[in-house]
Each structure stands twice: as structure tokens, then as C-alpha cells.
């Protein structure tokens, strides 16, 4: 399964890909396009990636999660292009013998994805303006986020 896609994310297929008789717990996280940010209204988001590096970083992240939680299965997918309200931008699926590890690995994966994987979103606000979303004050390379 490609980790970057321009199609709708089939999260059911992602969940099924991590399920196992050795797992007692599955955690799925979905990021979806939210309408309101404070008082501002979003019409759509555009996602762009540095595709070669993003695919490599997603694979590394999955490997790191399996190293930290050896019994887990993990799978991640990020969508690119124009997304309407409510659509799924990212999906993270984890299975594990016990639920603590499944939750911890799921949080680790989405938290780390958001600071290390070269993908950017652009807001299309209801007032007709567009704006790249860039966290500020982040001049250190995020490569060492999990070391």
C-alpha cells in the first residue's frame, strides 16, 4: 500500500491490514479537515509533500514504532491534494497485544509525523484568502525528534 495517495483513504483496509490473532487491541487515528479554527472558517485544505522524502520518513516512522513496541503492527497513510471539509487527511492504524501499547504507539506515530514528515497544508479560508500553515519558531531540524 502506498503511504501517500491522492485518493480517498480507505481506513477500513488500513485497519484490516494491521489486525492479527496476536493482537488484543487496535487503535486507529484519523485526521480530518475541520471547519473552524478559532473564529475562522475553512473551505478546503491543500496538502503538498516532498514525496520521496515523505514516503521514506513514513517508512522510518513505522520501523521506529515496531522497534519501540516489538509486538505491534503499524500502517500509515497520508492524502495529498485538495481536501474538502470532513475528509480524511491522515490515517494511522496500530495493533498490539495490549491496549496501552496500541494507544502509545498511535500517539507517537501521529505526533512524530506532524513534526518530521515533509508535508504541508494550505488553508483556503472562507474570506477567499489562502495561507500556508507553518509552525513558527521551529528552526531546529526535526530529524532527531525521536532520538
Amino acid at each position: 500500500m502506498d503511504r501517500l495517495t491522492r485518493e480517498r483513504i480507505d481506513y477500513t483496509a488500513l485497519v484490516e491490514s494491521v489486525r492479527s490473532d496476536q493482537a488484543g487491541a487496535v487503535v486507529l487515528f484519523l485526521g480530518t479537515v475541520r471547519e473552524m479554527t478559532g473564529e475562522r472558517r475553512t473551505l478546503a485544505l491543500d496538502y503538498e509533500a516532498y514525496p520521496e522524502m515523505a514516503a521514506a520518513k513514513l517508512a522510518e516512522l513505522e520501523a521506529e514504532a515496531r522497534r519501540r513496541w516489538p509486538m505491534t503492527n503499524v500502517a500509515m497513510m497520508h492524502r495529498l491534494g485538495r481536501l474538502d471539509l470532513g475528509e480524511i487527511s491522515v490515517a494511522v492504524a496500530v495493533s498490539s497485544p495490549h491496549r496501552q501499547d496500541a494507544f502509545d504507539a498511535g500517539r507517537f506515530l501521529i505526533d512524530t509525523l506532524k513534526v518530521t514528515v515533509p508535508i504541508w497544508k494550505r488553508e483556503n479560508w472562507s474570506d477567499g484568502t489562502t495561507e500556508w500553515v507553518h509552525p513558527v519558531g521551529e528552526s531546529d531540524p526535526p530529524g532527531a525528534a525521536w532520538t
Partner: protein
Amino acid sequence: MNVEVRLFARARDLAGADRVRVELPLAARVIDLRAALAEQFPGLRPLVPNLLVAVGTEYADDATAVGPDVEIACFPPVSGG
């Protein structure tokens, strides 16, 4: 030497191109690349202090060597998810 640099997101918009050629001193490092980008692409200046640099699809720091044989990319802090 002259290297190609890929740009993404707001960096691409500010430079007006998704790939730019940058003139660098010999044995240049990322810190030299930053200075050269700011000088040769004034539109990028507001972003340069926060610009992330990847060399060979790995995050690089200011001491990382850059050259024509490995892919170089510059982009703002990421915001996926």
C-alpha cells in the same frame, strides 16, 4: 559550484519556482546555502531563518556538506497531519 535546490510549499511560492540553481563556494555547507539563498533569491529572505534543509532526503544541519551529487531541498517547518 552550482547546485540545484528543490523548494516546497511557501518556499516555492516565494521563489516562484519549484527548483532553483544556486551558486555556492567550493566545499560549501548548509550554512553557506542559506546565505546564498537569501542573497540570490530575495523573496525567500523572510523564510530563510526557519527554512529546513534536506540533503539526500535526510534533514541536515548547518554543518552538513552540500554538493551537486546529492539532492538538496529547502522547505518551511512541516504541517502535515
